[in-house]
Symmetry: D2
Subunit: 406 residues, 4 copies
């Protein structure tokens, strides 16, 4: 480990990363640059400035990355219909490569030789931050305090604060949730506490972004989402920027009890963990995107996307956003989305979202051929005989030679 | 086309297949054997006997195949978590190979040289019936009246009945639904009518198996499903046969507004079509099966299953149940299910189903390692550094040699 | 079938397609436009003009498509390392989409309403021609004489010529090979004759493009192929056009006995068939392309290409070049090839080709890290422990809970 | 790291592992159990006994594992046609899981709490040994001296021997090859030395198992291999045990210059490395296995195998033989091999191996249908029209709605 002069820290302003600032200064004798981003976590980022200043930080970066986040990370991922392990919409995973990128940009600007973050040594986030950092700046050093220090409990952290006179806002930290939470414009996640028993149901008051289906309105809400090249661009005819659109979908979904998920997932580092997620807008968007694809995508393109999707989701989950293989898959996916234009009408009601209508100038739905009524010769039913006969040929030959299938 | 002496017809007892009986007798001068199966479509099958007799049929087969259907077709498919095009639970597709198998068995028993069915020349069902038949008895002949005759409207069929004095129960047929429907123990489907416009919302009174989420009870229903080797075996501790279990899930799901689906899908014969489906029990089962897998399956096994699934679903959808490639995939899937044992607790409420608990003696969830609390050394956080460093090595080398990812 | 006014025929000038000209004129009462292409089959195309004129054809197209063929079809396919069923380099398959495209262009130019070809009803080529034609011009009609007429033997064809006074060069046709052959710049194929017995060895005098390994020079030949963006651009430093380069590789390979293949393959129409192929230049090119990729491609990109390859090869073999799914795959493949630049040195000797050297400014081979000697700290061996430990974690947990692997 | 009492070492009897014995005794103060296996590396294993005894080892295991190796590892892998990165037949990779299994068995028998091996911290073998060990005995400890000590050169090792009076046979070690080599019944590998420059051609005298193609006989050798359920069982009609059969193929291949390979491959630990391999018997076997599959496997089964193969090869290469996902794939592969019976005739000549004949009672090759001659109605060419029309339907609809493919 070579000497470190300056480190850029992903800084939230909370207890943990405030301790990290001081610990880095003390342990490495280095200068700390803080970086705080608004990616829609729902907390003010500006207060982080005063806290960093109080810790003696001289270079303080506070960025509003919401539009970039949704436009360049969330939307490209939704083009792939990415779902991890059949259920998880990757709300935490997709925010990390943006943080990694910004950390490296700031390292380049400030001449820092290391980055640091507050992710633990058991989780996926350390992997996502660090793979991204190494991929973008191979010589960078990484300091992961949770893997190094022995401050492995809240009590020890508080003690450290007192010893080192770190000005933490104890009032806010006292009423701490029993869950470990993380939020950004795409979702909020909960882990730990009673969730560590996979048989225990999450308590109703854990959920923060959505009302319970029981508490949602008795009347359904209908909305129409417009798509261009696979990305949503409008709600009910109103054109919205990426972040604004997702924010609005979050409100609509949350109000209708949509997007809660309770799963046990497999982490990249090798263990299973229980997680609960609220992804109101993302859940609506996934349904809508599949619906607009259903009338605009060729069948084989759609199936190929489905067969590539699990791999794409693994890449995002495991932290390989900044990799040539993700770019390669993205090239194929983006190629398919040129024609994914049109509108989807959705019904939101007490926890569920249904596509009830879809239309597009690029629709491949052919009423003349699909009809149960007389199609005036658009489709020749006799073609089906040859189609079936030749598709069956290999099976007929095999059966004729005695192969058994039962 | 060689001379046909005897044909086995998949006979529902309804208008269409009654016309087919007579049309086969007249057109081919052959004997007709009828086969009527109870696969849970919810209509009496016994009345088909008198109707067939009235048409002069001498060999009449009426079978209750519900248990075989669920045990040997539905459950093996659910082991694969099969979903077609991201949404469709394959409720129609999976019933066809059983019918095909039984048609061939009866052809063997009765010495028939052909089979016949009432599926149209535009749909998937003709393919599924015929591929199955050819795969199981390569020399069989297939007569698909809808591809041959010109009785291509309800009016012409009725006229044919009158001309040929076919005793149809007109009272029942008059109040005919505007939709083309098909049902079995796994689902009921709707096509045609206003659904041919993919922008038009299905009318509430179309749905038959489920109440609307709006009309579902205000209180959630909780159930626990027990699994053995990947198959459900009990509900709330009560052991049930496959068909009985699925029937009960259908009632529970239907009462809670669960399992409605409205999609545009791609048919194997090349066109897009709009379909609405109610799969109440299947929707619950899919959620439960994924949940029990989430704690019992190894990560890589689960991911491999996910990557194979789209291919498996295509095979079922396209009619290749009776094929060596489906058997090959099934061998891999079944190998994975030995350990899929345990219980899943589910919450059913107004259209949505959530897994809220899962437990198993075969659980791989390790509380000691997964915990956010002190794990007493079960997991060495320092291992993560080497893990990340070597996973990043190829990316670091590439970046060091000037490769750009942005 | 609507009335046909004018048809564009893929015309070789040989017996079969000469009969087709007259048969089309007689059977459909339509005008015939002939199209003859030089795609490197090694026969003069100009003589086709006089033959067509003698048959009363007024619009005659004769094109040299060699450069387009190699540049836009062969090379893009080699970027994918496409091999069908583990062995076949797709030499026939890849020529068909170019012919289909040109037939449709000529149909558009001449106002023809149909195309026609001389491929049989049992083979893959009919599928490839017609899928391409339909995909590029959906209203086009297709006449496939071999599926319609009863001239199903050479004798009947000759008789037809005499009856209709078709001026065939009988001298050339008498010494006909017992094999059905097809050639283009990528390969020559042999089917039929004694090859219909898969146990029978092909006779030495069947092979036309290569000497036997036994007859090849006793001294190896060394060559160096230069690549840019995945395509070969030079041999031994001499820049060559695509067709010229492939032609030269064919000569080099043929002289060294390289590129013979004898296989049983699965046709898209459902049967197995025996084929022998000579692909001298393609065999060298495949080896060289893999070798240049081996030092320039990222590992995961290379593996992703390998996992996509079988699907890509199926698409080409089955005739789906002109499809959105092939374009989608191509987008991913082409994305990967930007960095595939450099040189490969090859040894050609008596039937085998080996890569013996590869170098590139885009090489990812890192001598410092790969070395068995002291690497001066470029790689930290201790990282491997954490890498292995965490990769093993899921296996250790499973074993700890009693899972057995033996 | 807890206290280690006894360690089982994979012991070759050579310099490196002899040093490791003493180093383990000194560093860990533990008892060392040695395990030496004959897996066909071509060196006597019995001399290891005296060397181990001289080092004070009390529990010495020397096993002949050749039959087990070929029967339970090599052959199952060849059923999958496994090739890594398009070229490498996995000769080193497949031997490791057997060693790992035996190390653990011996640890169980002797009550050892650790295993150790002589693989370096840069290579794949450490991963393969250790993943296998952890998967089979999760509590086992692993000592990898090359990752711990500083004896990182041949000189330091020799010095250590002298200091510790380790009786090494210096005469044999003096004429050491410049290459790092590894051999077993499937192959011999070469790394290091001038091979570290990927542009440098391997010297002729490096190769040990095969004559150069130039030096091979002028006359081809023909052999016939018999297969049962996907495994080779005989050569030229003579039934042979697995190891004996592979040994004989090695001799035949080596004498004909077959099976040399020179590649740059991607290691699991993240770097590229140059390797040369001789796999004479394996190269013949791969060709033969594909040939017998070509007439006995269904098309879709064969294609599914091809699409799964790269993943299977990755698993073997990366060291996941002992994993549930490899077993899952193996279940699918083995299911396909029931019908892979019959004979393949091969021509071996100066470096190349060709299949020239294949026959089987389970052949799906149907001469009646495949023939270019009159097939007496076995195949109806008119079926092809419907087959093509419906396969083209989605493309025709898309083109009709204005989609462009060019």
């Amino acid at each position: 480990m070579s000497k470190i002069e300056k480190v850029v820290l992903a800084y939230s302003g909370g207890l943990d990363t405030s301790v990290i600032v001081r610990w880095l200064q003390d342990t490495y004798g280095c200068e700390v640059v803080t970086f705080t981003a608004d990616i829609g976590q729902g907390e003010e980022v500006e207060p982080a400035r005063a806290k960093a200043e109080a810790l003696g930080v001289k270079e303080i970066y506070i960025d509003d990355l919401r539009e970039e986040y949704v436009r360049d990370f969330v939307f490209p991922m939704f083009r792939a219909n990415a779902i991890y392990e059949g259920e998880y919409l990757l709300g935490t995973s997709i925010a990390r490569p943006l943080i990694a990128k910004r950390l490296i940009e700031i390292a380049n600007e400030t001449g820092a030789d290391a980055i640091s973050h507050g992710a633990t040594g058991k989780g996926n986030d350390q992997v996502r931050f660090e793979l991204g950092a190494y991929a973008l700046k191979p010589g960078i050093q990484v300091i992961a305090p949770w893997r190094e220090w022995d401050l492995n409990s809240r009590e020890k952290l508080m003690q450290y604060c007192e010893q080192h006179k770190i000005p933490v806002d104890f009032s806010s930290t006292k009423k701490k949730s029993p869950y470990s939470m993380d939020a950004n414009l795409l979702h909020i996640s909960y882990e730990g506490g009673i969730l560590e028993d996979p048989w225990a149901e999450a308590e109703e008051d854990m959920w923060r972004w959505s009302v319970s289906p029981e508490a949602a309105p008795e009347e359904p809400t209908y909305i129409t989402i417009g798509f261009e090249k696979g990305d949503p661009v409008s709600i009910d005819g109103e054109r919205l920027s990426p972040a604004t659109l997702l924010e609005k979908l979050n409100k609509l979904g949350g109000a209708n009890g949509i997007g809660r998920l309770d799963i046990v997932e497999n982490r990249y580092v090798g263990m299973k963990s229980r997680g609960c997620y609220e992804t109101p807008g993302g859940t609506i968007l996934m349904k809508a995107h599949r619906a607009i694809e259903s009338i605009t995508l060729d069948r084989e393109v759609a199936h190929m996307k489905d067969s590539l999707m699990p791999r794409y989701a693994d890449l995002v989950y495991n932290g390989y956003w900044w990799s040539p293989e993700r770019r390669m898959l993205q090239a194929a996916i983006d190629e398919s989305q040129e024609v994914v234009n049109g509108e989807v009408r959705l019904k939101l009601y007490k926890g569920s979202v249904s596509a009830v209508g879809r239309r597009s100038v690029d629709s491949l739905f052919d009423e003349r051929i699909a009809t149960f009524e007389d199609d005036a010769g658009a489709y020749n039913q006799k073609d089906a005989e040859g189609f079936i006969k030749l598709n069956a040929l290999r099976l007929r030959i095999a059966a004729g030679k005695g192969r058994k299938l039962i």
